[in-house]
Structure formats: C-alpha cells, structure tokens
C-alpha cells in the first residue's frame, strides 16, 4: 500500500484510478451526496472501464487482478467519493468475490460476465434483528421442487436499488440455526421481491441503502452458492474481505480530510499568520499523518496475507478497527481546523465527517472487531 512496496504496474494502475477519481468523482461528490444517488451513466462507465470486474478472472470477462490492486483503486475512489467506493467494494469484494470463491463453474459462467460488464451486485446479509449477530438470520427459504420460496425481510442492503443481482443469505433449515443458512443469487426481476424506500442517512448518501422484502419469491435452487448450510461459512469468509474494503474506504476518507486540512491550514490567516504555524493546528496535522500511516501499515499487513492466501481474519479486524477510528478522528479534527467553514457544506470536510461515521459500524461495529481481536488474543498460547 505504500508506494515503495508497489510494482511499477500497480503504481500506473493506481495513477489511472486517481486521475479518473479526481476528474470525474471529486468535483461531483457534493452533488451525488445532495441528490443521494450515483448517476446511472457513471455506474455504467465504471463497468466499461473494468472497475466492476477487477476481481473477476479474465476467462469470465474480468481483469483478474488481486486484492492489492483492488485496494489501490478503492482508496482513490474513497478519497473522492466514499459512497461510490463502498458501492464498488461491495460489488467486487463481496458479490463477485463470493461467486469466484464459492460458485460452481456454471454459476461463474452465468453471472460473472454480467457483473464484470457493469450489472451491479448487492449483498443482503443484515436483518432488523440480525446485525452484529449474523447467525440469527430469519429470512425463510423453503424448498419446493427445484426452487426455494422466500418470505421475510433484509435490512440496510447496500446498492439495493442500483443492483441487478443480489447475494441473499437465507435460512433453509430454521431448526439448525446458524448451520441452516444458505446463500442464494437472486435476480432483480424476481416476482415477490420488493425493493424498499431509501431512508435518509447521516453519511455515504450517494450509496444506496434500502430494505428488501420477499413474499413468496421463487429462486431456483441452481442459484445456491455451495451446499445447503454453507451460508454462515460464506458470510464469515466474505466478512473478512468486506472489512478490508471498509478499512480502505476509511483510509481514503482520512487521507482526503488531511489533504483539505493541510491546504486550509496553510491558506487561512488568523492573528497575522497562517494557522498552520500554531502548534495546536500543526500537531493535529502530525497526528493525522501518524494515524493514517499506522492504518496503512495495518492494512498492508492484512492485504499481504490475503494475497498470499493465508488466513487474515484478525489482521482484517485490526486494520478495519484502527482505520475507521482514525477516519473519524481525522475527519473531526479536519472540521475543527476549518472552524466555522468546516460546518458548512461548501467545504468537503463536512461530508467527510458524516461519511466516516459508518466505517465504525458496517461489516461489524468497532465493538464486533474488538470481539474478534480479543478472542484471537485469548486463543494464543
């Protein structure tokens, strides 16, 4: 993640993403936030540029890139527009990633080319009463011939209205509890599936968040990823990838907040000099750099393990926890440095302050990360 650790190819790839993000996303992010929507043609363009098939192997129409390239692009996107970054991360890491890892050959052939071409994927795990505790999923899928019949609700589904394909976690055997969960690929046009109304939220307003309702919705059994009962395994595996995505998003928000703070602190004159010359401000900038670098190091460690195919659950939790707390701290200090202007929507730090908050919540709250990390500590001999 640090420049020195990247290959020339990775650097070029990152620079291209940076150029796209700074030209196309950064100047429009305020509007996307205000309209609470990403334009359809922008999403289509992401598909044309290959950003929605980064993790899909070339034989299925993707770019066949690794997690480091993906993280590099996501950071650039998050610096410019955090709502778009999470839309891309969920699509690539959670939906495409799950099909690449757990899909049958037929499923890969059927779905991956469509996703890589730009049909957005949504990931529906959380329910009203199953947030941090994913094992208590209730959405029922009852087998009927070669179909499942779905009844129930999903909450806070990212990209629910942008998506054409949904990876939905259901309970196929309620009596088996967490061992009775399965993952199904659901088409948008499925009769009986209803996309809810968008609720106004604090931040990442350009990302789409809605409920999904299912009333006797029929989904072919052929669309099940893995075996019946594999749902929890798939969800937990994907959670690690999702956490890396949120950590990268948090890092991008934090870096953007630092850039704006540095610029403002050098320009803004009070008491006859730039406020950057006051220790109270300069030391904030120092701590921002320090904490962002530490986030980047934790993230780099998790990414290297991921790229090497090793288990990276604890590393992902640490990176996500630290990067998200850092993003909130940095965005808050950025508002302080901007003073009254930081409270106004004319300056992007107002948005960073709102956008950062969710990084401590989704893909497991900070409290959930501490559970993961403390268990790892306790299991060490």
């Amino acid at each position: 993640m640090f420049d020195a650790t990247l290959t020339e190819e990775q650097r070029l790839f990152r620079d291209a993403a940076r150029e796209f993000a700074q030209k196309r996303l950064y100047p429009n992010a305020e509007r996307f936030d205000r309209e609470e929507r990403l334009p359809d043609d922008l999403l289509a363009e992401l598909g044309e540029l290959g950003y929605l098939g980064m993790l899909v192997p070339e034989e299925y129409g993707g770019m066949g890139l690794g997690p480091i390239e993906h993280a590099l692009v996501l950071e650039e996107f998050a610096r410019a527009c955090a709502g778009l970054a999470i839309t891309v991360s969920v699509h690539n890491a959670l939906v495409c990633g799950a099909i690449v890892r757990f899909g049958s050959e037929a499923q890969k052939k059927q779905f991956l080319p469509r996703l890589a071409a730009g049909e957005i994927g949504a990931y529906a795990l959380t329910e009203a009463n199953a947030g941090t505790d994913a094992a208590s999923i209730r959405l029922a899928a009852v087998g009927q011939g070669d179909h499942y019949v779905l009844n129930g609700m999903k909450a806070f589904v990212t990209s629910a209205d942008y998506a054409k394909l949904y990876l939905v976690f259901v309970s196929t055997a309620p009596e088996a509890g967490s061992k009775g969960l399965s993952a199904l690929i659901v088409e948008r046009q499925t009769p009986g599936m209803e996309i809810g109304k968008a609720e106004r939220k604090l931040g990442i307003r350009s990302s789409d968040t809605r409920t999904l309702g299912f009333t006797d919705a029929r989904v072919p059994k052929a669309n099940r990823l893995g075996a019946e009962g594999d749902g929890l395994k798939i969800a937990l595996t994907q959670l690690d990838y999702g956490r890396i995505g949120v950590a990268v998003q948090a890092l991008g928000i934090g870096e953007a907040a630092l850039v704006e703070s540095r610029k403002y602190a050098k320009e803004r004159q009070q008491f006859g000099r730039p406020i950057a010359e006051f220790q109270a401000i300069a030391f904030k900038l120092a701590d921002m750099r320090l904490k962002l670098d530490a986030s980047r190091l934790l993230l780099g460690r998790a990414l290297r393990k991921m790229a090497a195919g090793e288990r990276f659950t604890t590393e992902a939790a640490e990176a996500k926890l630290f990067a998200s707390e850092t993003a909130n701290w940095v965005a808050n200090e950025a508002v302080q440095i901007h003073g009254g202007y930081g409270y106004m929507k004319e300056y992007p730090v107002e948005r960073y302050f709102r956008d950062a908050r969710i990084t401590e919540i989704y893909e497991g709250t900070s409290e959930a990360q501490r559970i993961v990390i403390s268990r790892a500590v306790l299991s060490e001999s």
Partner: protein, 399 residues
C-alpha cells in the same frame, strides 16, 4: 447544590413543551432547513426569546442558571431550537441590557419583552473568526452620523431579527481597541441580510451573512463607549459559552436517552445488548460525563449569577460539555448500530447538531487558550514564581 426544586419544576415545564411541541417539529426543520413560524410563535408566547430580559422592561429576567436549564431542555430534543433561544438571549438581550444606553434599552428591550423581538449579534467576518480582533468592517464618522461598510458571516438568527448588533472598526490602527459596537434596526437603509448557509447540522437554525453598504447610523446608535467593542464582545462571549455548554449538555442528555431507550427495547424483545459489558460501560461513561458536564455548566451559571468571575468556568463548561456531546452522540450511534445512522432515530441529527458546540463562540482550541491563560494568571497571582518564568510568560503573552 447550585440548583434546587424550583429549577427542577421549571425544567419539567420546559421538557413537557419540548417533547410535545418542539420534538415533532425538529425532524421536519432538519429537512426543510426553515424554522417553523408556528413553533416560533409558541416560543414567543412562552417568553423563551426574552428569558434574560430585565423586569423593568417587562421581561421575566430569569437568572442564568434557570435560563441554562431552558436551553438544555430545548436542545435535548432540538439543537436548532436551543441555539435560537441561546443566541437571542445571551448574544442579543444580554449585551443590550448591560451595554445599552437607557434610550436603547427602552426602545429595544420593551419590544423584546412584549413581542419576543430578536436581536442578532454580528461579530464574525470571513477573515476574522477566532481572531475577532481582526475585524475589517469599518464605521467612519461623517458629521452627525457613522457610515458602516463591510460584511459579517455565520451570524445566527438575522432573518428573524428586528435589531442587529454589529462590531466595526472606528479607530483604525488601534487594533482591538479600535473596535466599537453598534445597535441598529434591521430595516436601516444600506443594511441587508444575505443568503442562508447550508450546514452540517442545526439546519433549522438561521445562519447567514450581513452586509453593510454605506449604512448611516446616528451617533447614539453606538452601543456603549467608542473603542469598547472588543471588551464588550469578550464579556458577551463569556456568558454565551454557558449557553453553548447548556446546548451541548442537552444534546448529550438526548443522545444518552436514545441509547438507553434502545437498550431497554432490545431487552424487552429478548435481546442481549444490555447484558454486554462493552455496552454497559459505554452507558456508564456517557452518564458520568453528562453529569460532570451538567455540574460545570450550572456552576459557571451560578458564578455569573453571584457576580463572581466566571470566564474560566464558562470556557471549561463549553469545552467539556461540547466534547461530551460529541462523545455521547457518537457512542449512542455505536450502540444503535446501523439504525443509528438513520434520520428516523434522531441521534444522527444530535451528532451533527452538537458538532457546532465545538466550534461556535470560540472553537475548543480557543477555549483551551482562554483556560490556560487564566490558569497561569491565577498561579502567577497565587504563587511565588521565579522571575524568569514570569518573563517567559509575559514574552509568550506579548506574541
């Protein structure tokens, strides 16, 4: 105890009004970004905009402590309502009561008491934020008039105001000592209120620019003696900080209540949230910090009411309460999880609203300057400090 049964009865009265009338309007005002006229009318009827107005002009003349409780209780459900009351009283009624001439007080405060008229306070400028001494608006003497030119920004309530207090430089080259205050009717020719700001929070509250384009004011429009403007607004802000502290306290209390209610609802539905130590300890820290903030805010108000020095205490109250408000709203969102980010739960609004308390009427950084200077001054007075240290302090101060 600085507060007694009488204040708790007053609190109950305000809380009933806040829950029944203010809270339902708060969600709407956050979306429309317009303060509802019906709510404003009810606030006028309840004398909320003239709480500090002296009895001799027909006002209720509540003490600072009682007033702080009103701001706290309104902010508990709506930061925008809290700041409207706070600004109208401590930045409007207070300076006119204390610095105004008899004629000014009679003309303005009688109206405040009778009709709930609002006085808006114009200090900040684009180039003069924390450095309010860097004011650029000028007032030039022209025969029997002052001619004002310049702009103010981030001013609270001007669209609803009938009078404006504005600071301007009357003696250039004298720095902070060259600043004077003026009190003018809003319909004075040449004066205009600019566009409303689009803000992170307190979206129902009016924040706008003021413009002075050759505004001619009679000599008696000056508030207090010439050159006293800086001293006046420093004193006004000392009191204003108690209100911002009270506002942050209310938003912290509101956040704590939302979190507690969520945990209880979860428990009733068989959830285990309330059994998690991570959650219990958050709640404990929130409650302890809210209580500590309450003591700081009330103590500063009490000292002011007793006529004791309170500048350090009000800076501490504002600094601490606003950081507690930030902490409590953040932790309440953590406890609610994803749903905490949704507007319908109201706590994300508190999170946005309370951020202003770390900025307005002096950022947290400025409060730390005020406090540290005061601490050194007190030690210098109380202790036998080596001459070298005194010299260093004076050198730092001079810079």
């Amino acid at each position: 105890m600085w507060w007694d049964k009488r204040i708790e009865e007053f609190r109950r009265e305000i809380r009933t009004f806040a829950d029944a009338v203010v809270a339902p309007a708060a969600d709407r005002m956050d979306v429309t970004a317009v303060f509802e006229p019906e709510l404003l009318a009810q606030m006028r009827e309840r004398k909320l905009l003239s709480l500090l107005c002296p009895v001799e002009y027909g006002g209720p003349q509540f003490d600072t402590l009682t007033y702080a409780v009103a701001v706290e209780e309104l902010s508990r459900v709506c930061g925008s309502t809290g700041i409207m009351v706070a600004a109208a009283n401590s930045l409007g009624v207070y300076p006119v009561s204390v610095f105004g001439s008899k004629a000014q007080r009679e003309a303005v405060l009688t109206n405040v008491a009778r009709n709930g008229s609002i006085i808006s306070f114009g200090l900040t400028e684009p180039g003069a934020g924390s450095d309010a001494g860097g004011t650029k608006t000028t007032a030039v003497r022209d025969g029997d008039f002052w001619a004002l030119n310049g702009s103010k920004c981030f001013i609270t309530n001007p669209h609803y105001a009938d009078w404006i207090i504005a600071t301007a430089v009357t003696q250039p080259g004298k720095g902070a000592h060259g600043i004077s205050s003026f009190l003018l009717p809003k319909d004075t020719p040449g004066f205009s209120v600019g566009k409303r700001e689009n803000k992170l929070g307190l979206r129902g509250s009016d924040t706008a620019t003021l413009h002075f384009d050759n505004v001619r004011l009679p000599l008696d429009a000056m508030l207090g003696p010439e050159g006293e403007g800086f001293k006046q607004f420093m004193k006004t802000l000392d009191g204003g900080r108690i209100s911002i502290g009270a506002m942050a306290l209310g938003l912290a209390q509101g956040s704590l209540e939302i979190a507690a209610r969520y945990i209880l609802d979860d428990t009733r539905l068989g959830g285990l949230l309330g059994k998690q130590q991570a959650i219990q300890f958050k709640l404990a820290d929130m409650a302890a910090q809210v209580e500590a903030a309450r003591h700081l805010v009330y103590h500063a108000a009490y000292l002011k009411d007793q006529g004791e020095p309170f500048a350090k205490q009000s800076a501490m109250a504002k600094l601490y309460a606003s950081e507690v408000g930030h902490y409590c709203s953040t932790q309440a969102i953590q406890i609610l999880g994803f749903s905490g980010l949704m507007a319908s739960r109201r706590v994300e609004r508190h999170f946005r609203d309370v951020k202003l308390c770390e900025i307005g009427e002096g950022t947290s950084e400025i409060q730390r300057l005020v406090i540290s200077r005061q601490v050194l001054k007190e030690f210098e007075a109380a202790m036998d400090i080596p001459a070298a240290a005194v010299k260093q302090y004076q050198y730092d101060k001079a810079r």
